[in-house]
Amino acid sequence: MNLLAAVTIPDVAIFVLSAALSLAGAVGILLAKNPVHAALSLVMTLFGIAVAFIELQADFLAAVQIIVYAGAIVVLFLFVIMFLGVDKREDLSVEPIVGQRSTAAVLVLGLMASIIALGFIGHFEVGPASQTAELTGGAGNVADLGRAVFTTYLFAFEATAGLLVIAVIGAVVLARKPEAKATAAVVEEGEQ
């Protein structure tokens, strides 16, 4: 199997860029002491993945990725961090539960290794192509995507309406101030 047969240099460059960005960001989240830095790292990862999307000719998703994820979701994170003033530095030197990190590391590394190994054992053999609908490259795939969303995935699309309703109601319910009595109790505790 010749992996590198058809690979061109610009493609590799873009992939390496995307991988570097996303991995650096991911590691950044893992190591950031400050949630704001973690959020910035997350943005970096998102960019890296957007670059990968472009390399995969999913331009539309790349744009949506940036607009929705970086432009809204992470901003929301930052908003909450700043709003609550919870940007306290986390002390990473102390392990809360002994052995937690090594256990987690073993688990996750095992998982990753086995997934990658399984993938290579199966030669990343994929199923039959274009079952849902054919995917054209470039600008055309917005139309493909739109068509799929309104035909094959019509129900899923409608279901997202329900999802957003819950999200809105949930946010309203949760942002509402607790009953006066409860607040008073907290104040007392805080003063002890």
Partner: protein, 422 residues
């Protein structure tokens, strides 16, 4: 990758040296023009506002004070670069660039004129025309908020932080409205490429999206865009009378200059985006004069952009700043529903008149219901104080907040018991 390049016919013959030079030149020219335009814009704003306030404005440096901006720039450049002790140094330094870069990037997809042929290479007068062009605009305006947020937060100071919180909330809120109006335009134009959008408006004034989308989206977009820009009357982020200048309070020297630069650059690019989306971009009557025919679209484009820039200056001079809560109300309760309703109407009208009538009826019912609901909601909010306290009451990060709770008046037990019974 290939999809990106294939869209532009500049690359039809592949990536030759000539093509490469053209691209580089385009980038450099766009950069230079934009920088020049910004200095002019700053001068223009100061001059125009002075005029409206019956003052003279800058008039010493250069003819009509034209070089005043340059002088200010040089002065700022040589000022001492201060970094507050409490700041997060890395982010503090990073933030200005996060503001400037998206401002430049947006301009890359704006078609400033028609197409030109030089050395057998036909190319469009725009830096790039990616198939997702307009989404890039939205993406960049989404990223722009980071600079402001992080600048405020990284300063480690009270007022800038409040500014950050305001900025994030404001820009996320208005981006939704912005996006929906863009979608309305896309419904009419059938393409995401800025060039195609402009081309679709090519015929006459009546082909402009301003008309074809029914005028309303333009105004909605204008309001939303103004809010995205943090320009008056939506400049709560840097409200100097409330927040001492907001997110850039702690900035000085070149970093401050970058924020300043970015603000005006954003004004220009957003004007250009509006021109592109609703006013046909470079479209306009082109007299058939050989060799300089290509210059008229550019002139049309420039003229339209200047008009918008003037409008922004005019807003600044004429309109009082909105209160923060009014701003959020406007965004969520008026702009977003209206944008959504109009988008649906346009979509329905494009399908058939039956659908248009149905959606119209739906919009009408929705409008009544929403108005009613908002009114009731406002009453309830006043009655039981069931929402979060406003931002000004938030404690700051660091020492103070460990001991504090919501900042609501603590209720003693008797009072709360009564309230429960009631």
């Amino acid at each position: 990758m290939n999809g990106l390049l294939a869209a532009d016919h500049l690359f039809d013959q592949g990536l030759t040296l000539a093509v490469f030079i053209i691209v580089v030149v385009k980038v450099v020219v766009a950069f230079a023009v934009l920088m020049g335009a910004v200095t002019l814009m700053i001068w223009f704003e100061r001059k125009a506002i002075s005029d409206m306030q019956s003052r003279i404005g800058p008039n010493r440096v250069g003819p009509w004070g034209l070089l005043q901006t340059l002088a200010d720039g040089i002065k700022l450049f040589f000022k001492e670069d201060l970094i507050p002790a409490e700041s997060d140094r890395f982010v503090f330094k990073l933030a200005p660039y996060l503001v400037v870069v998206p401002a430049f990037l947006i301009f890359a997809v704006i078609p400033v004129g028609g197409s030109v042929t030089i050395a057998h290479h036909t190319f469009d007068l725009q830096v790039a025309d990616p198939p997702m062009g307009i989404l890039l605009v939205l993406a960049c305006s989404g990223i722009a908020v980071y600079g402001i947020m992080l600048a405020g937060w990284a300063s480690g100071s009270k007022y800038p932080l409040m500014s950050s919180v305001r900025a994030s909330a404001q820009m996320v809120s208005y981006e939704a409205a912005l996006g929906m109006n863009v979608v309305t335009v896309l419904l009419v134009c059938n393409s995401l490429s800025t060039r195609a959008i402009v081309d679709a408006q090519g015929g006459s004034f009546f082909h402009w999206n301003l008309i074809t989308t029914g005028i309303v989206p333009f105004f909605l977009f204008l309001i939303a865009a103004t809010a995205e820009l943090n320009r008056p009357p939506f400049d709560v982020v840097e409200a100097d009378s409330e927040l001492v200048g907001g997110f850039n309070t702690e900035y000085s020297s070149i970093r401050f200059a970058l924020f300043y630069l970015a603000e005006f650059m954003n004004t220009i690019t957003m004007s250009a985006v509006m021109v592109t989306l609703f006013f046909g971009g470079p479209a306009g009557p082109v007299p058939n004069i050989p060799h300089i025919k290509w210059i008229f679209p550019i002139l049309w484009f420039t003229g339209k952009v200047v008009a918008f820039c003037y409008m922004y200056i005019w807003f600044r001079a004429a309109l009082p700043r909105m209160r923060y809560d009014q701003l959020m109300d406007l965004g969520w309760k008026k702009l977003i529903p209206a944008s959504l309703a109009w988008m649906l109407l346009v979509a329905a009208a494009l399908t058939s008149w039956r659908w248009a009538l149905i959606v119209l009826a739906g919009v009408f019912i929705g409008w009544i219901a929403l108005t009613q609901a908002f009114e009731i909601g406002a009453d309830r909010e006043l009655s039981d104080a069931s929402v979060l306290p406003s931002i000004g009451q938030r404690p700051l990060p660091g020492r103070v907040l460990r001991r504090m709770t919501d900042g609501d008046a603590p209720l003693d037990d008797e009072a709360s018991d009564e309230e429960v019974e009631a």
